[in-house]
Subunit: 214 residues, 2 copies
């Protein structure tokens, strides 16, 4: 009985975290999700994907923050305030959105590794705090090496055809699941969009745990 309850609880106590390294609001969630989830005993299932193909399927060529010019100034001001609220460093990227193909491919390798959270935060900080290009072997190598990992081995694995295909499949899955932006969270079938809903998604997880235990 107890085992069964634990299994139910284990399955409900997970949050799927769909994010993209080029996305500004994904930066906020990447920086805070591990600490917030740990507090509630929630497991994170990291789901790096690419927003570009999703936007393309809507007929968009880039981020709506760029094309909806009436919104552009506001979203940058909002990011500045949000970073202050969460105590995060912030520099408006001189290139936006930055492509992040290699970082995403490496993140697929890291998704089940203990270094995933740290890796994602470092890549995000390069983009949104240091205003540096992230889609290069130099940047990714530097990050992995700073973490004491075998950088070249990981990058080689990330550039393997099988892994490239995995990223395409993951992005296709995002489309199938109805994801239209990032970050997006899933708790079971329940979808939550945007950093503003991270706490709601975690609370939803928490309620599921309480229910299965009680």
């Amino acid at each position: 009985m107890i085992t069964e309850q634990r299994e139910i609880s284990g399955s409900l106590a997970a949050i799927e975290f769909w994010f993209e390294f080029g996305s500004s609001y994904s930066y906020l969630s990447v920086m805070r999700i591990e600490q917030a989830a740990a507090k509630l005993g929630v497991t994170i299932r990291w789901r790096p994907f690419l927003l570009g193909p999703i936007f393309k399927s809507f007929g968009w060529t880039t981020s709506p923050f760029v094309t909806q010019t009436w919104k552009t100034a506001y979203v940058w001001r909002d990011m500045e305030r949000e970073c202050r609220k969460y105590g995060l460093a912030w520099t408006r990227p001189t290139t936006f959105p930055r492509t992040a193909l290699l970082p995403a491919r490496v993140a697929l390798i890291g998704a089940d590794k203990p270094w995933m959270g740290d890796y994602c935060r470092r890549i995000m900080q390069l983009n949104f705090a240091a205003d540096r290009d992230i889609d290069s072997a130099v940047s990714v190598n530097e990050v992995l090496a700073q973490m004491g990992l075998r950088a070249q081995e990981i990058i080689d694995e990330a550039l393997d055809d099988a892994n490239k295909l995995r990223l395409r499949s993951q992005t296709e899955l995002a489309k199938t699941k109805g994801i239209f932006g990032a970050p997006t969270f899933f708790v079971g079938e329940e979808m939550f969009w945007g950093n503003d809903r991270l706490d709601d998604a975690l609370a939803y997880c928490q309620a599921a745990i309480d229910h299965s235990v009680g």
Copy 2:
């Protein structure tokens, strides 16, 4: 000196609340702003306006929740969850977005009256809890009469040419201020977009008060 401080504090302790009766996320803010602002000693400056002409200026013919079909199911599910979170009644409107010209014209009359908050909540509840048409003399008359007000007098004043012009000017002003959606809040020059930012906007007000008093 004390007088001067109070004046500064008075001016900073106000939040401009730009909203539209057809807007679902405006519903959330209309229902909770008076209580939230009162707790912090913040004054509300009610700014009813029309979203239609704003959207038209972007080349849009209706709400993006309608045209961006990939987002439609999500936003309704989100509204359902948000209403549960705030303890608000919720019925998905069978017509969306509902036009709300007369309610907005009456709201202009009410903006400085003590009945404004109650009036706005009742109109919003007709739209988003009772799923009823709101842009009719019958609906507006019913609401005002239930509040014990001289309904016909107020409606006549709302339909006066000068008041019609005022609503057009107010909507023009929204455009000039860079408003692109509803609800939107201003604290001084600082703009906050969306019900998700209401608490941040109020906190910004609060910090301004503390600063001017301290």
